[in-house]
């Protein structure tokens, strides 16, 4: 699905990714974890083509992403901070993204699911953070692409919406999709993900299932396993 070879990225003198090799096969939920500044967002943005790698190649479904934009038809992306043009109404934004990408009717089901009907005629500038995040989720999931990338999807969501999001993610997984998630909420990661990729100082420190991680670090639970990696490496 996604294959990354020898990926390097420097921002000025700051070397964020130092040779990442990663193969993600089709189907399943993968969590990208790591301390602040470990390069999670840079890695994800490289796959999306928003960050131009200093070195290395990335292919998505066998297509090299360099100087290419059409491969993004395969990807749905949920950005970390949802800040939309404040003068637009919610339904106008949805219509606009559909117009720019492709038509779909999935949005109606998602609007129903997250109870967004009362907000459709409101301007985006007047919405609360959580409601914006719900709009963000609708925009992401409405296209039904084989690869879904979620950057901190739980931000600002109330408990009910969080449950709905988890159900939504599971449903997409059952359709055979590949889902990449970053999150700081360890319980969320433990609940949803099949496999984790742990980034440390710009390299992949660990890739495997959560139980493998527990065995490797000799810790009884996931949160402590992560904490032990961090304290062992003084990060």
């Amino acid at each position: 699905m996604v294959s990354i070879e020898n990926l390097h990225k420097k921002f000025g003198k700051n070397e964020v990714l130092k040779g990442v090799d990663l193969n993600i096969k089709s189907g399943g939920i993968f969590a990208v974890l790591g301390p602040n500044g470990s390069g999670k967002t840079t890695l994800i943005k490289s796959v999306l083509g928003m960050v131009v790698p200093s070195k290395g190649t990335i292919t998505v479904q066998g297509e090299n992403i360099k100087k290419n934009s059409s491969y993004r038809h395969q990807i749905d992306y949920l950005p970390q901070i949802a800040n939309f043009p404040s003068n637009l109404k919610v339904k106008e934004l949805i219509r606009m993204i559909k117009d720019l990408r492709k038509n779909t009717n999935e949005d109606e089901r998602l609007i129903e699911l997250f109870k967004l009907q009362p907000f459709l005629d409101k301007k985006l500038g007047n919405l609360s953070g959580g409601t914006k995040q719900k709009v963000n989720i609708v925009l992401t999931f409405m296209f039904d692409s084989p690869l879904i990338i979620l950057d901190e999807p739980t931000t600002g969501l109330d408990p009910i919406s969080l449950i709905r999001l988890k159900e939504l993610i599971q449903k997409e997984k059952q359709k055979g999709k590949t889902i990449l998630i970053t999150s700081h909420i360890m319980s969320f990661v433990e609940e949803v993900s099949d496999e984790i990729v742990f980034l440390l100082e710009g390299k992949i420190y660990f890739k495997g299932t959560i139980s493998e991680l527990k065995t490797k670090t000799n810790q009884p639970d996931f949160e402590h396993a992560i904490a032990s990696i961090l304290s062992d490496n003084h990060a």
Binding site: V52, S69, P85, N87, L100
Partner: protein, 270 residues
């Protein structure tokens, strides 16, 4: 061929959305209202059309670049997160940024054209001889909007820091609108013993604001206001060829920054 058509339509779509987004912003109406008021005051309190055109020229030449730069930088920084959302879609980078740029530049031009145009139409412009002078004024104003919005986008693309970006944008405007003329004049005085025709010709062409002023004054044919450079311009090129040359230069002033927007956006990290 089909792919190319697809990219062009996505650019037009982004242009359309940026345009309507700005058309709903309060500031577009303030800008429009200002020109409307200026036009009304100049025409109905003054009654001399050619004087009104000259006053308008002086206002447009300074104000349009200022507003173009500020709106350009502001729009770019304000729509940053939204741009990131677009970048994750299957859209070409150049169509995203060109679309946004044209959206800003065209909505500003429209405020200018409508704001000044409406009072002039009511005044009976179509029956007057000043229609060509007036049209030239609006065309030059549109060029200045296109140029300075493009320069602003360049500055914003090169500076992650908002405050720095704003600072450079204001400095650029201050330099081209005021300081440049000062330095230029000093050079002319300092080297007055040498032949300065070529230097002052080049000096005028390198500043879009000076270029616009010369262009309008050439058309108005007011030798008293032309000044030294204007007189040389007229002598060197003649009135009609001088008009063509300055138009070509204005087009180049639009094209170069736009090319850099495309070039720069392709290599940028978001």
């Amino acid at each position: 061929m089909l792919l190319r058509l697809y990219y062009q339509t996505t650019m037009l779509k982004i242009l359309k959305y940026s345009f309507f987004d700005l058309m709903r912003s309060r500031w577009s109406y303030v800008y429009f209202g200002f020109y409307l008021l200026l036009g009304v005051v100049l025409l109905f309190l003054n009654n001399d059309l050619s004087k009104a055109v000259i006053t308008l020229m002086n206002v447009i030449i300074v104000l349009v670049p200022l507003i173009g730069t500020i709106f350009g930088v502001m729009y770019y920084y304000n729509s940053k997160e939204f741009t990131e959302l677009l970048l994750a879609q299957p859209l070409k980078r150049s169509s995203i940024f060109l679309g946004q740029y044209l959206g800003v530049a065209l909505s500003l031009s429209m405020s200018l054209i409508l704001g000044l145009g409406i009072p002039f139409v009511f005044y009976g412009l179509f029956k007057s001889n000043a229609i060509w002078d007036f049209s030239l004024l609006l065309i030059t104003g549109t060029f200045l909007t296109l140029i300075f919005t493009a320069l602003a986008f360049n500055i914003a693309l090169s500076n992650e820091n908002k405050i720095k970006g704003f600072g450079y944008a204001i400095l650029l405007w201050l330099f081209l609108a005021i300081i440049y003329d000062g330095i230029f004049l000093m050079t002319l005085i300092f080297f007055e013993d040498y032949p300065l025709d070529k230097l002052s010709l080049v000096g005028t062409m390198l500043n879009p604001i000076d270029l616009s002023r010369t262009l309008i004054l050439l058309k108005l044919d007011i030798s008293a206001l032309l000044g030294y450079t204007g007189a040389i311009f007229k002598q060197f090129f003649g009135t009609s060829f001088g008009l063509v040359v300055s138009f070509v230069m204005l087009v180049i002033w639009v094209v170069l920054p736009v090319l850099r927007i495309m070039f720069k956006s392709r290599r940028k990290d978001f």
